[in-house]
């Protein structure tokens, strides 16, 4: 068992555990922050897998993203602290079955598929950043730009949906 496997197990286990906690805990803030730490652990997994830029990016983005989730939970839940005995689950059996089937299905594929030889040499972190830059602003520029445009559109659309509807001036 190499060091990489060990750390993958540790961080992966943390990510999964926090992921489960998200749906176990009754406190909404806790569940949002559990998701945050799950994502952080995933970022750490990236670091273990030597994708440094992506790992740091994941860790950075998810901290703010999930904090925003936390405040929305507090805003929209009747019982954000989880002190009352509110039940917030439904169709438990179906969900559990679907989750387990999904897990075991994916696991079976991961274990039984023939993945072929594993690469050993990878570009070092600085080189990766450089190559990624060339990729983003070279061959894949169109895709990258469309992603940017998409997020802009989503921002505007979400704001438009969320702002209180104003009375439109009637046409003369």
């Amino acid at each position: 068992m190499s060091l990489q496997v060990f750390f993958l197990l540790v961080f992966g286990g943390a990510a999964v555990w926090f992921g489960i906690v998200v749906f176990l805990t009754h406190s909404m803030v806790r569940s949002a922050l559990a998701l945050l730490f799950s994502q952080t652990a995933i970022g750490a997994m990236f670091l273990v897998m030597q994708a440094e830029f992506l790992g740091v990016l994941q860790i950075m983005m998810m901290a703010t993203e999930m904090s925003i989730m936390a405040i929305f939970m507090v805003m929209f839940m009747m019982d954000p602290g989880g002190l009352g005995e509110m039940d917030m689950k439904h169709q438990r059996k179906t969900s559990l079955a679907a989750g387990l089937v999904a897990f075991f299905g994916a696991l079976a594929v991961a274990v039984f598929a023939d993945w072929g030889p594993v690469a050993t040499d990878i570009p070092d972190a600085g080189e990766q950043v450089r190559l990624l830059g060339f990729e983003l602003l070279g061959r894949s520029m169109l895709i990258f730009e469309s992603a940017g445009l998409t997020i802009l559109t989503a921002m505007i659309a979400a704001t438009a949906v969320a702002v209180q509807a104003r009375e439109r001036k009637p046409k003369p």
């Binding site: 439904h90 679907a98 089937v101 999904a102 299905g105 169109l142 046409k171």
Partner: protein, 607 residues
Amino acid sequence: MSALFVAIFAPVLASFAVLLLRRHAGIIAVAGAGVAAVASAVLLAQAFSGAAATELILPGLPTYPLRLEASALTSALSMMVATVALFVLIFAVGYMKKDPEKPRFFATMLMFIAAMQMLVLSADWILLLAAWELIGVSSYLLIGFWHGKSGVAGSAMRAFIYTRSADLGLYIAAFLLIGVAGTSDISTSLATSGTAATLAGLLLLVAAMGKSAQVPLNDWLQRAMAGPTPVSALLHSATLVAAGAILLIRVAPMLPPSTLLVVGLVGGVTTVVTGLIALGEKDLKRLLAASTSSQYGLMLLAIGVGAPIVALLHLITHAAIKSGLFMGAGVFQHARGSTLMDDVAGAGRAHKRVFAGFVLAALALAGIPPLAGFFSKDAIIAATLYAPAGAGLLPLALAGTVLTGAYMARAMAQLWRGKGEAAAPSQALRWMGIGMAGPVVLAIILGAGFPALERLLGAEVATSALAAAMGLGAAGLGLVLGWFLPPAHLLGALLPWAQNGFAIAGGMDGLVARPVLALATALNRFETWLFNAVIKLGHASLRLGRASRISDEAGIDRAIFSFARRTVASGERARKLQSGLIHRQLAITIIATGILAAALFAAPLFY
């Protein structure tokens, strides 16, 4: 390169400027269109001077760059678009004078024009598809411009859906051609032959039929009259409707004879059917709309007999003429507040100068020398005459010509006969007059430019005295008939049918929408029947149970009860599938995905 860029981006920039400034919208729009027109003129001049086709390659997908190209053909088309657009916008300055939402109107118009320029100048399928979509969207926005009025949103939606459903043909054809040719370049992919070419040709024909409003997809065009008149003038002459014909003109070299024959037949049938519709029409603008379909039918016919250049000539002529006619109709509408034939009766007497322009354009469309329409229509008839498949198509072409004369004469007669009350000339009317004068002048003089254009495009256009005589005779006959006889006499028993838009078995609505509705009704009835049956069964079993209780058989009783109850419950459960609850739908989605994945994994086992 630069002119190419300017031709497309001048309208885009003007559009943004209009949206940002929100004032002087008309002037900015006209300036933008003017700059684009100058750029197009530069392109055309380059083409005339014999320079090689200018090309602009933009980075797109890695192996499929986006190409713009100004060859002789595309620059001529670009010039046409730019010119008509310029005049229409000038007209619109007057027409939209009182509208409170001018910026929106002009910005959308400019986007429309830019999209059309892009479509015309694009040299690869991907860009063409993008432009095609943009045209669809902006025409939807423009037709639905007065969305507050009742019925307008519906007709905009109808235009969008009709053209969209036909667009599927373009998508499949484009991807087919890209797949076969291995490149998205249009001119390279035209070398495709064999089954792929036939299939792609037919699919492209479907797309063109949708956009150019050919039978049986012609209904939306007449309903699209709900938009402002400048929109109609632009839509019918140089942009939306023209896109279909332009597409076919561009791919004509690829089409095998069998496909060409189909194209010709569709065009021929359309020109006659929609001509009859136009003759029976009660509304001036709808008459013009039907005539647009009819004229595009003639163009498809010309493509079908293997003379795409002739079709192009007629396209250009028609663009000038039809925009002029629509602007004339717009003036009459402005004066009378309606476009119903009975309402505009005599409007021509009141606006003599506008009427003169209208008459000139109408005569040009009918094909009276020396106006431009004569030359192009003559060329179509000549091409049909000498084509191998001409024997079948020639009567259709001639009938189309007669009908053109007849309905134009009818429109003119209606406008002239009746009481004329002059309205006070206004500032708005002046702008509209200027806008209209341009196309009318073009309609008169364009014929002189045809020989040069033919040389530029390198095509031999057949001429013959016989064809000229036949065309002239047909046009004259049509004009005389239309002027002196009311449509009821001309059409006879066909009149109500024609007024109904020749809704063959209910038209497109009948062919698609009504069967679907009928199917739904039938299913509903079946369901009700089933439900009733179940209930009856339940009742019956209850009765049976009651009867059986007498015979003291409690076991059967319970079984029957539970059977009835379970039947009802299973119905209830089936209803729950359509609960509208997100989590249920999500669960169904995930389960279905799982089944699909399982099927994918299982598939190799069975091969």
